[in-house]
Every structure is written in structure tokens, then in C-alpha cells.
Symmetry: none
């Protein structure tokens, strides 16, 4: 069986997509997720180009990845500069990874018109850079930028670039369709020419400008490349990179290439949604394999056929990729999902018919109001607890008020503005009422401070809980500032992390609900002795 390694560049090339701006914490979270789905390499960033990426690599040392190798990206040295004196190469060597990928030009026209140097100097740049990095003990992958365009215009020079890289010690030559305009036939012809000359393992890096990135990648694998580069959800500049969420199942389920285990493949849908959540991009419902419509059927003939034969209108069993069949008109999925999810979390569901029915009804109602429990297991768990008649919440919210003020003190000057955010909250614990107030750096932060202040008297351990992530998603976007707002909060006590959700047309109320759930969940777990 052909061996194919997966190389994810969501964190570097994927971040070039318009609208994506990952923080360091985002990048660490995505790297953790990529490790879980079992990609072989994670390209974490370009330390030579920005300080955020240097911080990422420094903090990534604590990730303890189990499946993936972290890779740093950079470029060949500048023209007319010694490799030893090139700051970009130095940053790569210092960043603390074992594998680096460097990009160099392999197109004659690009060298002349863009790099504005000689063809010979470009070859030296490739060679010197790789030798320098090899001398630091690093494994080096060489990204041959614009390879396919370069090969079409001047095959000899394009091949010479690869040859030089191989001689200098690159372990892998990655053929890049940088502008994304190649056809599968172009890809196959060029790979054949490369393989005729060299036995060094090859990789493919495709872009989707002709809507052919997945096809080009699969054609390259069939032609003998051993590494595929791509991104989760096909994120990337312009029309995106080759989409690993399609390539992985295409390779495994269609071409019989066992690039990830069955268990890992079954997490693909989750990973896709997780990354779009972190990128704060709405998932594309039509995405092959992982989209929420990928196995949905709009009724009529298809649904009737599906009841006769489940394979009649779907190309694979959706559970293979962690997705599910969905019948759009009748919404059959709800009940099964909820029971499944509760069991998954080891919860004793109030299984007697009436209580279960009530819980299902409530989840349906809340979902129609914008709550979503897919990424908020703690809020989901609280709902299950609250469905029990004997549930005693550790505290109850009575009411709150938030004031946000911006005042220009005379004389009116831009720099003399003052922003004030203040919150008052009233909470009940047992029979006691606590009424207090606090300021904050914004209204939600003020609420957070006031709520903790009120509860700390009763639960001093709560000081360990902090919010690590706060996300806002606007639903029904066409309504502008009146839209429904969903807030997702991730909290941590230093050991465990949990996520809660709130939804409202009012962003303050949505935040308040998610905040309160977060603290209630932790107190509940403390009480049960399993935080």
C-alpha cells in the first residue's frame, strides 16, 4: 500500500485567508486538534516573518504532541547575503524544531522578474540555505515555489532547482502549484519528469484557483508523491489551499491509502468545525464529507429511497468521517443525538419518558433561540442536571445592571477621553442575597468581576477559575445590530477546561448567561469531587 504523509499548513498558509487572524492561543489550540486527527506534520508558522510566530513556537514546546511533528517555515536566504548572516534562516534555526520547510523559487521568470537576481544566484540561495540548516542538524523540506508554472516555461531550470536542493541535503522536494492554475494533466506530466531524474521523495502543495486543488493532489499521489500539503477546510489565500478535509477521506475511503486510522478519520467533522470556530468563520454547509449538508436530504424521492436502501443517495457511510445523515424536512436527528451525547459524557439521563421529553423540548426551544451545544458541553450538562426535580443550583442570579460611559472632559481633546464600565449584580446563595458592584475593562469584564466578587465570599476556591476564551457569533446577520448574538466562553481552573454558551439579542445578556453557566458548572463539579 502506498504510504502518504499529511502535512498541514492551516497555521501558516491557511492563515493567509482573508478574514483569518489567529492569536497565539488559537494557534496552539488548532495544533492540539491537528495532533488529535493525526496529521504527520504541522507547519506552525514563519518565525522569521513575525514575532507572534516566535512566541507560538516557544509555547508549542509544552504541547506534547503525540502524532504530529511541528515544522517551522521560512524562505531561502536573501540574494547576496551569506546564509550565516541571514536573519530569517537564523530565526528558523533558533526556533527549536527538528524539521523546517524552506521555500525557494523554481521558476525562471519569477527569479528574473520578481527576485531580480540571476538564475545562478537563485541556485546558490537554495543550496546555501539548505546546507546551513542541515549543518544545524535540521531535517529540511524544500518548497519549490511556482514549480509547475516554472516547469511549463523552462523545464530544465525548474528541474535544476530541485536537483540543487536534493544535493544540498533536502529530504523532501515539495512541488508547489503556487498560483493554483494547473490541471491534473500538467501535474502528472511534471511529476513524471521529476521522477525520471531523482529518487528524493516528493510532496505536493496545491491551490484551488481552478477548483482543482483536491484533484491535483490526488493525481500527484497517484503519480507517486509521498507527502500532501493542505489545510483544514481548504483555508488559504485567494481560493484557498488543497482541502485536507476532502483529501484525507478521498485517499483513505476511495483510493485505499491508509493515511490516518479509522478512529482519527471519525474525528474529521469535529476538527473541521473546531477550526472554523477558532477562525471565527461560518462553516460551509456544503463542504464535502464534513459540511452539515454533506449527507442531508431535502425530502421527496431521495428520502423515500434512503429508507429502502441507505446507500442509495450517499457515497459513503457518514459516520466514517464523524458526520451524519440528516433529513431536512423532518428533523429526525434530535432525540438520538441528545441521548448519544449525554451517554458520551457519562451522564445519568432522567430517562423516564416524561422528564426526557421535557428535556428534549427545552433543548429544542433553546436551540431555536440561538443556543448551540455542539461546542458547549458544560452548558449541555447543566441542562441535564436542571431537568432533575431535585437539582439545587449553587447560586441564583437575581439581577444586574451595566453602565458604559465615554466622556470627554473639557478641554475636549481626543486624548482626554475616559471610558468607564461598571456592573452591579445581585445573587442569591441559599437564603442569603449578595449585592455588589465592580468596574472592568469593558462591560462583560465588569460583570465578570462583579459576579466573582459576589460569589467569592461563599466559594473562595472560585478564584482559581479564569476565562481563557470568549467568542461572539452574530446569528441572522441581515438584521444588523438587532441580531441574535451567541457567546461561547471557555474557562479553566488550571487543570480542566470547559465551555459554556449564552444567547440573546443583547450581547451583555448572552455573555452573562455563559459566564454564569461557567461558574455554576465548576461549583457543581467541585461539589461532586471531580472538577
Amino acid at each position: 500500500m502506498t504510504e502518504v504523509q499529511l502535512y498541514d499548513t492551516t497555521l501558516r498558509d491557511g492563515a493567509q485567508k482573508e478574514g483569518i487572524s489567529f492569536s497565539v492561543v488559537d494557534k496552539l489550540n488548532v495544533a492540539r486538534k491537528l495532533d488529535e486527527v493525526g496529521v504527520h506534520f504541522i507547519e506552525g508558522g514563519w518565525p522569521g516573518s513575525n514575532p507572534k510566530d516566535i512566541e507560538f513556537f516557544s509555547r508549542a514546546k509544552n504541547l506534547s504532541l503525540r502524532n504530529s511533528v511541528l515544522v517551522a517555515f521560512g524562505s531561502t536566504r536573501q540574494p547576496k547575503v551569506r546564509a550565516e548572516a541571514d536573519t530569517n534562516l537564523k530565526a528558523l534555526a533558533d526556533v527549536g524544531v527538528k524539521v523546517v520547510t524552506i521555500v525557494g523559487k523554481s521558476s525562471e521568470l519569477q527569479v528574473i522578474k520578481v527576485l531580480e537576481t540571476s538564475l545562478e544566484e537563485n541556485l546558490n540561495m537554495i543550496s546555501d540555505s539548505i546546507r546551513y540548516l542541515r549543518a544545524q542538524g535540521l531535517t529540511v523540506f524544500f518548497d519549490a515555489e511556482h514549480f509547475f508554472d516554472g516547469f511549463r516555461a523552462n523545464p530544465d531550470y525548474a528541474l535544476r532547482c530541485l536537483e540543487v536542493a536534493a544535493e544540498a541535503g533536502a529530504s523532501l522536494l515539495v512541488l508547489c502549484d503556487t498560483n493554483g492554475g494547473s490541471l491534473p494533466t500538467n501535474i502528472v506530466a511534471a511529476i513524471k519528469a521529476v521522477k525520471d531524474k531523482s529518487a528524493v521523495p516528493l510532496g505536493i502543495h496545491a491551490h484551488n484557483d481552478g477548483e482543482l486543488a483536491v484533484a491535483n493532489t490526488l493525481a500527484a499521489v497517484a503519480a507517486g508523491v509521498s507527502q500532501v500539503q493542505g489545510t483544514i477546510n481548504g483555508y488559504g489565500e485567494r481560493c484557498g489551499n488543497a482541502n485536507l478535509c476532502s483529501i484525507i477521506p478521498d485517499l483513505k475511503l476511495k483510493m485505499g491509502i491508509d493515511c490516518v486510522t479509522d478512529d482519527k478519520l471519525a474525528r474529521l467533522t469535529e476538527v473541521s468545525h473546531y477550526v472554523s470556530e477558532v477562525a471565527n468563520l461560518v462553516p460551509d454547509v456544503s463542504s464535502p464529507y464534513v459540511g452539515s449538508s454533506a449527507f442531508s436530504h431535502k425530502g421527496g424521492l431521495h428520502v423515500s429511497a434512503l429508507t429502502k436502501w441507505s446507500e442509495s443517495y450517499q457515497h459513503i457511510d457518514p459516520s466514517r468521517v464523524g458526520n451524519q445523515l440528516r433529513v431536512v424536512v423532518s428533523e429526525l436527528s434530535g432525540r438520538g443525538n441528545i441521548i448519544y451525547k449525554a451517554r458520551e459524557r457519562g451522564l445519568d439521563l432522567p430517562l423516564r419518558g416524561e422528564e426526557l421529553k421535557k428535556l428534549l423540548g427545552q433543548i429544542k426551544l433553546l436551540e431555536s433561540r440561538g443556543f448551540q451545544y455542539e461546542n458547549a458541553e458544560a452548558s449541555f450538562e447543566l441542562l441535564v442536571h436542571r431537568a432533575r426535580p431535585d437539582y439545587q443550583p449553587p447560586f441564583e442570579l437575581v439581577d444586574f445592571m451595566v453602565v458604559v460611559e465615554k466622556r470627554r472632559r473639557p478641554p475636549i481633546k481626543e486624548n482626554l477621553e475616559e471610558m468607564l464600565s461598571e456592573a452591579t449584580v445581585k445573587v442569591r446563595v441559599g437564603t442569603e442575597i449578595m449585592h455588589t458592584a465592580a468596574e472592568g475593562n469593558g462591560p462583560v469584564n465588569a460583570l465578570d468581576h462583579a459576579l466573582r466578587k459576589a460569589l467569592l465570599r461563599f466559594y473562595p476556591n472560585l478564584a482559581n477559575v479564569r476565562l481563557v476564551d470568549y467568542k461572539v457569533r452574530i446569528l441572522e446577520e441581515s438584521i444588523g445590530t438587532e441580531s441574535q448574538v451567541r457567546v461561547l466562553i471557555e474557562s479553566s481552573d488550571g487543570i480542566h477546561e470547559w465551555r459554556t454558551v449564552g444567547s440573546s439579542t443583547n450581547i451583555i445578556e448572552a455573555s452573562w448567561l455563559a459566564l454564569a453557566d461557567s461558574l455554576e458548572y465548576w461549583l457543581l463539579k467541585q461539589k461532586a469531587g471531580t472538577p
Copy 2:
């Protein structure tokens, strides 16, 4: 040169996409647009399945299409029913078109498990139906449903279905990858087998479940089919149909197959956006060729290369498909991006060294505080205006206050909660101060109401401006509720749309800044006479 005909099924198969529901008028409008872009056939609907489609065909007689032939869709007769007595076939014959497409099964398993009839009866159904329609003087295309899956399981039967259709008088045999799971190699092998047996022209109908619909279609063309079926924007059930917006330029610009004229190709982007407008779906910015990001550039290196050589990072000249190069201003950008962008927007940059330097410095400072101009051209333009010493803003914000309250009125019950959001604002226009207040459905909505209320006295036309989108992004997420918040607002006056940005640790302030920019931008444009 190979001849390829384009067959659009946006109005039939495309309308199966979740979320699409075309009215008759919508369908007529889309048909007109498809005619303009020059597809050879427009599949208008299934008259036998719903009365709306019968009305469509009746009204379509007045369309006076200049390039396209209108086609009606239906299925083969029911089992054990004479063709003459089949209401679906009768509806097809009566609808007033010259060409019809009928779908029939070509997979043994589908016949047995879903149709629940004999293999022989299915062949009769195909034959009888085609003969009946031919006898009515119609040209008949035969859609061989599940052909590729059927061919893999039982090639003889799949080929026999085609043979029967050809003998009965079908002018074209359309090979359908109904479940969308085939690889290009499957497609090519099956087509080769068909061509060995028959000289009847072939068509290809692909779905995108493996993200290969475009590649499968191109592979089929290379293997000799003469008609491609697809939809605008790849709309369709599950993961969609083959995307004509990619196939048309791939065929013409990459494979040299002249399926539409240059003039018509240059309308592709317009048609794509028009259809998404009618379908009420947000256009995918990353769509190959036609997406607004398809030729956009964010990285400083890429932009600097583009100024040296326009082809360096794009696979075609975007004007060929009616799209354009777009340079995105972002944290990754250099000085080149900003100058390029200002020119693109027809702005007179304060080009004297000192002022330009000051502007660049300010953009850098604001970006470090979380502002991002890549999706907020209007805010960017305001920055350029404000860099001029003589700039007079149409209004000035003095100060504001927002109160959000949640109170439980006694007796304390969940349902008796009240949420109140109220804003007061003070703005200066010329020498006048306006100080007013308003309520809203959440704090930002209240601010929006109050600000408009204050300004309407001076600028009554402002009533035309409304917010169409409001997005929130949390930056530096590790800090939880103290995070920096970026707000992006999209506004419209019914004719133009523009986007503005605000950033602050305080979500209310961030929203306020973006709101104020939106109104200031529009007033400025009004004043200049070019809204």
C-alpha cells in the same frame, strides 16, 4: 477544436440546495441571465413534479432567449404503466419546449432495491418513455442516473441501459455521478467503455461529494463527452453540483475549448453574484474565478511581487472573467499595499513624505490596537481623508452612555425578567450640540438608534442608511473578557455597500467607532456627490 455544450441545471438540480427556494419570477430572471452568459441549454424545471414549474415554462415562452435552448426535465414512466398514461411524461410533452431530459436508472442495485422492479422492466421504462417523447416530436436527452456506481457494480447492465436509450432515439446520453463519489479515473474508465460500444454523443453530470465535480467533468471532456451539466456557483443538493463558474473558464482558458465567447466569459463574475443574490445566499468569497477573494492579495511579499510582475501571483488575468485584482490591507502588509489600495479607491494620497509617513504610522498604530482594514475599506478611506490638515468631519462624537439592566420583578420567576438597554449620546455638528437618548434591543442597537436620532435633524437622508451586517471578533483570546474586541459593520443605502471597523477592549466602544465611521463615510460621499 473540441466542441463542448454547456447545460445549466441551476433551476432544477441547483434548487435542491438546502436554503434555496426560487419563485417563478426568480427562475425567469435567472434564465435571462443564463442566456446572457451563453449556456447552450437551460434546464428550467420538472413540470411533472410541481405546478410552479408548469407556470415557469408557460411564462418562459416570452423570454426570447437569444443563446440558450430551454429544456424541461422529467423521469421515465412508472413501472407497469403505459407511457401514454404516465402523467409525468404527459406533462413533459405538453409544456411547450423542444428538448426534454428524462432521468432513468442505470444501476442494477438501484433498480432492484429502490425502484423495486425487474431489470427488464427498467429497460422497458427507458425505451417506452423515450419513444413516446420522440413521437411527440421532441429531442430527448437521457440522464443515466447512478451510471458510474452502476457501471462499477454491473457494467453490462449499465451499458445495456444506455444502448436501449440510444435505440429508442435519445440524442444524448448523460452519464450521472449521482452520489458524487467517483474519482476521475472511474469516470474515464467508464466513458471509455461506453465509447467502445456507442457513437451517440455523451454528457457528464457530476456532483461534488468528493470535492472532485469539476475535475471529473474536465476528465470526462478530455475523454470525449460533448456536453457538461452543472450549476452556477455549484449549487445543488448535499455538496452541490459541478460548478459551471469554474468549469467554463477552466475549459476555455486552460484547455482551449471555446465554449463561450470572450465577451460572455467576462460576464461570469456578474452572473455568479446575480444568482447568489436571487438565491439569497451569501457569495463564497473564496470561489475560484468569481469570488471577491479570488484575486486578492494579503501578504506583503506577494503584493510587492505583483507590483513588479502582475502575473506573479495570479493564474489568469482577472478581467477575463469579469473579476479584479484586490489588495488587502492587513497586519501583514507593507507600505506598498497601502499606496496601492489608496490608488485603487481613487484617493489622492497626501503623498508628500511627511504626511504619508504619518498616515502609515497611524495605520500601524491602529492595527496594533486591533483595527483591521482588510474588510473595512470605508474606515481606511476615512483615515486617508483625516490625514489631510484641512479635513472637516460632518459631525463629532462628544460622549455617550449605555445602560443595560436585567431585573427580576417580584415574585422572582424566570419569565418575569426584564431587559432594558438605553443609550444617551452627545454629538457636535458645526457649532451645534445635539444631546439625545434612545432604547434598543441590546446596547449596540440602542447606541445606533440614539446616534441616528441625533444626526437626523441635520442630515435627514441618513434615514436611508441601514446596517446589513454586524460582526464581532475577539482578539488575544487568552485574556478572556478583557480581550480586545474588533467590530466590523457593513452598511447599505440600498444602492451601495460599505464596511467599517472599530476596535477596543470595550465591545460597546468598538461598536460605537464602527457605527460612527459608517455614518461619517456615507455623509462624506453624499457631500462629494458620489455616494
